[in-house]
Structures are given as structure tokens and as C-alpha cells.
Amino acid sequence: MKGISKRFPLVTALSDVSFSVALGEVHALLGENGAGKSTLMNLLRGLLQPDEGQILLQEHPVTIGSPQQAAALGIGMVHQHLSLVGTLTAAENVLLPRLPFWISKRRLQEEFAQLRSRFGMTVDGRALVAELPLPERQQVELLRVLAPAPKLLILDEPTAVLTIEEAARLALCLREHVGGGGSVIYISHKLDEVLAVADRVTVLRRGRVVAAGIPTQSLDRAELAQQMMGEQAALSSQLQEERSERTGIMTERAEILVVENLHVESDRHHRVLRGVSLRLRAGELFGIAGMGGSGQHELCEALLGTRPVHSGQIYLGGVNIGNFPTGKRRQLGLGVVPEDRLLEGVAPHLSVAENCCLNPQLRPQSWLSQSAFVRKARTLIAQVELPESALSAPVWTLSGGNMQKVILARELAAPSLRVLVAAYPCRGLDIGAIAAVHCLLRACCQCGIAVILLSEDLDELLSLSDRIAVLVAGQLHGECAATDADRTTLGLLLGGVIP
């Protein structure tokens, strides 16, 4: 791939990215979430078209218009979200694209068994995919992609669901594939794994290549982690000063939120939080880093009360709120900026004024009317620097940044607010809006409100937080004051290397 750029309406996902894979090699593509890895691969799969640049396959320029075309060119992909048909058997899934017209169950199983033994897999071909455990489903997916012997195999976060043995089996299987002259692109953010499997590594950061095709022998983990996270942006001296002042004051403040040994299960009854503990003082900003899917979502829900707590305690201002319904928690001073603005944060077809008044603590005392809403909301939106003309506009017409401001205005206006949980508040926003959101969060802290900020952006966390920790594998690791934070350590933690 040469000089590839791809722009979306809001962001430039890739700018001038060049990337090459040789025959018979495993090439790893590393990067944080949102670095552009998936976009790059979607270009190769034919789901997206590049705005600029060329894709060359064995030195011939190609246009990949659809997944079928990608498959015809010999590009196979194992998705992070497995794409299998649950109601068909493993064998049917694997052989689906290459079936004879009349299907004989016996022949199907024989063919499947042959493939299975060639790649050293163990999965039962007669089992329905929906009834298989995740690692075995991944075997099916892998076999499906390997069956037509693709020239280029793309694996997107393949070990996210695998046990150590399974991961080792996968590595062997990949060796078998490249041994036969195939090539592999291996997308991951797990450093150890990449070093174990790949021949060369390319690192993406914010849509740019920051390290191209470095052989893995000449690399060490710390270096790799640093490249993934980027150089430390110099904090403005004013901010530094302000912060050291704050650290002094902070130790005298009362603890407002205490979470002790919290265990929470996911929708699929996996234990996703295993003993999370944290203490938050009034006016403190606690940053939680970590790749999405390590329990962030469930942590927010458990704090808000929309997901049952398996075990552990949550104290808000000394009161155990672990069993309280959401409304009561809010009355006691909990506010939340949810992860998915449009889905969980606003009622998109209601006006800005109405959305501001959705917070029960802000409901007008009179009969509900548009003018009562507007009266209430006017002061709120002035605080977040939204123009008054926006009041009667339906929220869905606003930009992401302004929508976020409406949510923040609503949450901050609750008189009882003491703890604000902000989940990825800047995701998908432009620079101006990000600055505004940061400014509001800081203002919160100055009013003595404690903030939990979840983010995938390490720079953001380091510049805003008083303390920082990484949520990885359901636990908080590496908690420290943000001023003492060491990017390499954090980078290793983000990469799943738990000391």
C-alpha cells in the first residue's frame, strides 16, 4: 500500500500511509484504538476505498471494490468480531463458499476433517457454531479463511479471546501458512504476542506510520510501547503549577467516592471486573486508561446502577449505594456523561431545552411547557457557551461537540452533583470541542466535584488527571499521580503486559 489517505467527515483516519508485506512473512500492525488499523484493513478488504494512494498486489495496482473481489485476489480476513453463521455447523461454515450443489453430510465432514488436521485444529465439525465456546469458534473462523489458501491472511486482534494454549496453536498454524508461501498481517495491541509471532512490525499512531517495517529481532518492548504512545507532549508550565498546587490541597479533602473490591459480570456472564478498588477525593480528577472492552463499559454501568454488582461495595459520601436504583444515586450526587452520546445521552428528537430538563433535579416546578423548559435551560447552555438560538433545535441536528455540551450542561446543573463519571467524552469530537469539554471538566474539579475520566487517549488523561490508572483485564493497575506517570510503564500496561 502506497501513500494511502482516507478521510471521514469528521476525522482524517489515515494520512499518507505506506505499508508493505513480503511473501512468507508475518507482519504485525500495532497501534492504539483509533490509530487507523481497522480503516487500513477495511481498505484491503474492499469495504472502503482510499481517497488517495494505491494498493499494489505483487507489483500490480489493484482496485478492491468488494469483499468478494478481495477474496478473488487471495486476501482473507479473520475478524475481531467473528463472522460466522451460528445456526450452521462448523463444517458448513468453513466450506460454505465452496460447496457442491447437492450437499452430502458425510463428504462435508470428511473434507472438514482433512482441513482440520492440516492446520492442527481440534474443533468438532458437526457442532453448531452458536453452541461452541469462543476459542473454538475462532478455530472455525481461522479454518474458514485458510481453506481457500489465501495469499494474504489478515488477522484482527486474533488472541483477544484465546487462552495461552490456543494462542500458541494459532502461532503454529500461522507458521504453517507462511511456510507454504503465504503472507500474514497481524493486527494487535498486545506487545508480547507481536514479538513472538511477527517477523516485522509497523506502528500506526493517529493515522500515520511512526515506525515502518522494523524487524522484531532488533526491538524491545519498552521501545515499542513508546512508539505506540508517542512522545510526551510538554505540559504548559501554567498547568504544571496549577496541578502541583492542587496535589497539595487534595490530600486534605474528604474522600467522596470509595469503590471496594468491585466484581461485575458482563452480559454473557463473564467476570469482567475482578476486584476494582478506587478512592476519589472531592475535586479530584481520576483518569482511567485502557483499551475498550477491558471492563470500562461495565464499570460505568455498575457505578450508575444499570448493571448489578456481583460483589464489592460502592460508597458515595459515606453511604453504601451498591443496591440503590439509579435515580437515588443521582439524587445523592452522581452524574454521568455516557459512552454513546446519541444512544444513552440524549433524546435525539427532543429540543435542546427539553434535553437539559431531562435531569429530574431540573424539572420545572410549573406545568411542563416549552417556555418553562426554555427558561430553565437558558442559563445552563450559556455556561457551556452554546448560543441561545440552539434552545429549540432538536438535539440530533447538533454536532457531536455541541451535543456533548448539552449533556454536560444537564449533568453539571444538578445541585447535588458530587461525582461525575465521564466515559470517553471527547470521542469523535473536533479539536475545538475537545478543548471546550476539557475546560468544563477542569471547571468541575475546581468546584469540588470529583471526576472519573475514562479515555483511550493517554495524552488527554495525562494532561487532565490528578491520578491515573490503567484498567486491564478487569483490574486497575499502575495507579499513580499523573505527574509521576511513566509513559513506558503505562504503554506496557495498555499493551496487556501486567507486571
Binding site: 475478524h79 453463521v85 450452521l88 460454505l96 450443489f101
Partner: protein, 318 residues
């Protein structure tokens, strides 16, 4: 006396089988379309248009075979229209399906107005008797000396069943369960959805033709009297499978006839309107299934195709 009961039973069964045939044909069409992920709530309207077209063509040409063919084509044409709206343009399938039903009902009423005004006799679809086999006690008359439409239903049942053992059938299942996975495996999702929608709607038209050419050979407005809706409900109870659909269709065919057979025997069971009450049984069954479906464990046994009613847009994650 025993002889008498047997012949009565045999008669009931034969009548029930004939009644069940159009129901089964429409249900088989709906099964194939829904297996591919396209819900069609307009079956009733499509059946009406098929019934009207079939009757009109036969009245004009005196050839019931041409009538049956034109019923199929009329249904398929509506199916094509529906596929453009819900597959290509990705419109909501519940609303569009209801709209399609109204289009079919309206068209059949408007175009069929002259026929309804001047009732006439047409050449019906022929009866077909197979020597020897028709003399089998009890079943002989029902299965081997009956209207052609019953044989058509059997052939379609066989085709739908065989589809399961073919590449096409597996591809249809994949398209209806997980279209993005099917797409990634190189299965042309939209082409399958078009084909299944048109096929399903064509069978609904054919079922309507069967009604107006064999079961109740005439044309009046609303000739189908809700049988299209019964077919839609039947699909859920049959768990999107052909053979159970056939048994259930037979059950309802017999139940529909039962009150007529029992007339004069007892006041309650002989009430000729009882058939209408029995007709709501598929929906009672559907509601039972919908409730069971929410239970863990047994629920997945009754689960619909995962992508039923959801338009497929390439590259969109759920």
C-alpha cells in the same frame, strides 16, 4: 356403521387436504423468504391479487393452467416491487409489508370489479386420480384423487425440503442468519434476498390462484378471507421448517372443514361459523411460541432467523 364413519373421516380428510393446499403453498413461500431474512406481511394482499389474476385469465382464455401461471407471475411482480423497496432501498419491512398487502388488496378489488359484478362459471383446475392408489382406505381419496393444486403443493413441499440439502439452501440460511458473514464468505446477499422475496411472493400469488381456480372457483372481493395472515402466523409455529408447516396446514385445513361435516350432528359443533373461530388458532399458537421464545433454554428452539426484518448494508457493524 363403522364403514360409514370411515367414509365420513375419509371425506373430511380429503376436504381438509384440499383446503390446506393453498395455505401450505403460501406458507412455503413465506418460509423461504423469511429464511433469507425478508419478512413479508403482505401475503394476504398478494394472494388476493393472484386469485383475481388467475380467475380473470382463466375466464378470458378458458385455460386454468394459464390462470395458475398468471397468478404466480402476478405474485412475483409484486415480490419484485417489494424487494426493490425493502432490499435495495432498505425500507422498514413491517410497514412496507403492510403497505404491499394493501396494494394487493386494492389492485385485486379494482381490477376484479367487473368480474365480481357479473358472476360466471370458469373452467376449474382438473382433478387428478391415480389408479389403484386412490383406493387406499382413508388416505386414498385425500392424496390420490384430488385437485391438481394439492399435487402442486406436494411438489413445492418437496422442493423446499430439498433446498435444505443444497448449496442454495445453506446460502439462504447464511444470508438470513448473518448477512455480513455470508457476504464475507462470498455469498451474494442481495441477489439471494431478491430471489427469495420474489419466489416467496410468487408462491403467495400461486396460492391465491389455487383458491380461485380450485377451492372456491369464483371471484369476490376479499376471497382469501384472512388465509394469507394465517400462513404468516403458521410459519412461526412451524419454526421456519417445511414439514411441520405441512402438518400444521393440514390441521387447519381439517379444522376449517370440521364444522361443515358436523352440521346437523350437534348444535354447537355444527355451527358453520365455528370455522372462523378455529382460524384464529394459528395466532394462538403464534402467541404461545412468542412467549416460549423468550424463555432461556427452549427459547432458541423457536428462534427466528437472526437477521429477519433487518436490511443489509455492507460495512455496517451492528
Amino acid at each position: 356403521m363403522a364403514m360409514d364413519t370411515l367414509s365420513q373421516l375419509s371425506h373430511l380428510l380429503a376436504a381438509g387436504v384440499t383446503r390446506a393446499a393453498p395455505l401450505l403453498i403460501a406458507a412455503l413461500g413465506a418460509i423461504t423468504a423469511e429464511r433469507a431474512g425478508v419478512l413479508n406481511l403482505g401475503v394476504e394482499g398478494v394472494m388476493l391479487l393472484g386469485a383475481m389474476t388467475g380467475f380473470a385469465t382463466t375466464a378470458a382464455t378458458a385455460n386454468p393452467w394459464l390462470g395458475l401461471g398468471s397468478a404466480l407471475l402476478a405474485g412475483a411482480a409484486l415480490g419484485l416491487l417489494y424487494a426493490v423497496v425493502v432490499v435495495s432501498l432498505q425500507a422498514d419491512q413491517v410497514v412496507s409489508g403492510l403497505a404491499l398487502g394493501f396494494v394487493g388488496t386494492g389492485l385485486s378489488a379494482v381490477l376484479g370489479a367487473p368480474l365480481a359484478a357479473a358472476p360466471q362459471k370458469i373452467v376449474e383446475l382438473p382433478q387428478l386420480s391415480i389408479p389403484f392408489l386412490q383406493q387406499i382406505p382413508l388416505l386414498g381419496r385425500a392424496l390420490f384423487a384430488t385437485s391438481v393444486i394439492v399435487y402442486v403443493a406436494f411438489i413445492l413441499l418437496l422442493i423446499t425440503k430439498l433446498l435444505d440439502a443444497s448449496r442454495w439452501g445453506l446460502h439462504i440460511t447464511a444470508v438470513g442468519e448473518n448477512p455480513s458473514a455470508a457476504d464475507a464468505m462470498g455469498v451474494p446477499v442481495l441477489r439471494y434476498r431478491y430471489a427469495c422475496t420474489i419466489w416467496g411472493s410468487g408462491l403467495a400469488g400461486l396460492a391465491g390462484g389455487g383458491l380461485s381456480l380450485a377451492i372456491t372457483p369464483m371471484w369476490v372481493d376479499d376471497l382469501t378471507a384472512g388465509q394469507g395472515w394465517i400462513a404468516v402466523g403458521l410459519v412461526v409455529v412451524a419454526r421456519w421448517r417445511a414439514i411441520p408447516a405441512a402438518w400444521i396446514a393440514l390441521l387447519f385445513g381439517v379444522l376449517r372443514r370440521l364444522p361443515l361435516e358436523l352440521q346437523g350432528m350437534s348444535a354447537l359443533l355444527g355451527n358453520p361459523k365455528l370455522g372462523y373461530l378455529f382460524e384464529m388458532l394459528p395466532y394462538l399458537g403464534t402467541i404461545v411460541v412468542l412467549v416460549i421464545r423468550t424463555r432461556p433454554g427452549v427459547g432458541k428452539y423457536f428462534a427466528p432467523p437472526s437477521a429477519l426484518g433487518i436490511p443489509y448494508v455492507r460495512g455496517m457493524q451492528k
